[in-house]
Symmetry: C2
Amino acid sequence: MNVCSTHELHQEKLDQLPGLLREVGLDCWLVWVRETVQAPDPVLHLILGAELVWPSALLFTADGQRIAIVGSFDAAVIPDVLYTRVVPYTEGIAQHLRAQLDMINPRSIGINESRNDVAADGLTAGMKAVLADILAPTSHADKLESAERLVGHLRGRKSPTEQTRIREAVRITEQILAELDSYLAVGQTEVEIQEHVHRRMAELGVGFAWQAAGNPAVDAGPNKPFGHGSPLANRTKAGHLLHIDFGVQTAGYSADIQRMYFFGSPDEVPEEVAHAFDTVRDAIARAAEILRPGVRGQDVDEAARAYVVDRGYPPFAHALGHQVGRFAHDGGTLLGPPWERYGDSPRGVVEPGNVFTLELYVPTENYGQVSLEEDVLVTADGCAFLSKPQRALRCIRRTVR
Amino acid sequence: MNVCSTHELHQEKLDQLPGLLREVGLDCWLVWVRETVQAPDPVLHLILGAELVWPSALLFTADGQRIAIVGSFDAAVIPDVLYTRVVPYTEGIAQHLRAQLDMINPRSIGINESRNDVAADGLTAGMKAVLADILAPTSHADKLESAERLVGHLRGRKSPTEQTRIREAVRITEQILAELDSYLAVGQTEVEIQEHVHRRMAELGVGFAWQAAGNPAVDAGPNKPFGHGSPLANRTKAGHLLHIDFGVQTAGYSADIQRMYFFGSPDEVPEEVAHAFDTVRDAIARAAEILRPGVRGQDVDEAARAYVVDRGYPPFAHALGHQVGRFAHDGGTLLGPPWERYGDSPRGVVEPGNVFTLELYVPTENYGQVSLEEDVLVTADGCAFLSKPQRALRCIRRTVR
């Protein structure tokens, strides 16, 4: 990725900010970080393509100011084309931060603290305490509030460059999966299949949308619980299913796709497997039919969940869909059930430009789980599939040697 | 890095914990995280070689219990050999966390909140609020305190495997720097030199101790402020200095070294450059003489700082030394001046097993800055250089083409 294209993306995201600040009723947004290699705030990827070492304040106002207060050794990494003012310091940031806030004189200051959204929760507990100390002598101390909605919009409404990059990540992920059809065979181990995919990724020069140990997740046979664990020495067998959960990252953006394979001919697919596959495929299609701007996340989840239960299966033990972008799990509104662990994220509202996964599994009695996952882009009045939805089990009849 | 060696390292770090908990007077330590790919707590590298998705509690007690309460889909990544109990959940973690704490019944619970140390500040503001809500109905709510000292000891006292890995990172960093002697020539750009180093790193299969854009930092000529910025199209010139700040990461551990080159023969080195070089080299040697267990970080910084001022230079605008380990800037006690931006970290006390940089610069009138950096290991009664200290400017007489 060259420097120009990075700036183009950050420019697009920074251009969204004044409108979003007004929309959520914030006068300014404060990103307050230190040693970002070790303690990365997830928003930094969107607004600055560099790491900061000393305590740093990035300030954005509803009238378009972009101010970076950074250690003197960090000043060189702040692009002039992106920031309207760079304030370097040596011994301490406190007086500079207070002075800049005095000049802005905001009524409200959004900070990255969120119970619900990991992507809007980049402020650490210690740094929040330091900020409180710095602002204590000023009137700004009482103006701090959560920027959760701002960050959710900024991250969720994918800009043109972001959409292009996600499409490219999906394209390469699908290419590698398509090539697997001519590689897979009865008798391979999960580890061998994962290593094959890793070699192809290296050849294509792409990274991992999540940690390599579980990407792709490769689950062969009926007794492997799906999750984020590593592949085992399990071997693929005739008459068994194979599940793959895979996503590459390219130019900093991710894909996340699940596919199902059957070792045998199409007419050998057991009835209970066919029923399970059709259920998962059609539940995803039903969710896609109602996914549109304005709908609540939990209502989309509920549509797929009710369909699965209606077809005689227990409800799946995870959310139907998460956002995809910088990260495979990108935070913000979730297409999920209103469970404690999800906080308020399922009550969020879907917006144009959001990219979601649609994914779920059902169990079979004798063949393990059947699970699929597609990636979709929310449009003005509905959604468009970015991945080509799997319509039928991929049947593999080859045997090793 | 294979799985066995990873477990060996985590085992060594986890084995340190009961003693450290008793030493700092904590009954238990709670690491409380979610979506660690996006929001990594810096301590996770030391105690678990995997990422966690759902809200997760890792609990460690002074009597040696290691309990992981994690989402059902994350349970597979917790190694049985490292954790004494794994508690998986589906809908919410709250009741499980309360139940485990009830069983432990601690008088104090350390959490990763620190004003001073980024490495001990992995708890986010939102997750702290969620934790407060979960514990509100219990007596545990009032037991929370900062685990800053615990994390500082755990991270700073390098185990045998950690020391071996840091030595290897230093060895490879020095190897690549040594090879530069036969590559560098008058007329090269900073960008070309960096790209050459990046190619060698790829050939040797090593990663970056900090972000690639500024690693190595390459600063040619008198008008380049040192920092973490990217190389420019500046060209090396006869009679000019070149500064390189470089560190590789291997098996998850880092090195951080600075070297100075002069384009010309040794007898052409200007007097003011020679005086500056000797000052920096000897200031580092003086600091190494007093660096030993029990000394305060700021006292080591002050020794080098006073020497530099005594030789007629302004004091350097950064700390003399930071710890090196998982990260090039590894947190904990700092060999630094008592400036606001460093918090309490310069008041920390040096311990056996700590690895520090010793680094500083002085300005010259006509040739820019002269800056060196070495890596040292604190021993029982002093310190040992891990890097081979630069004794003289490396003189390069070759010209491109």
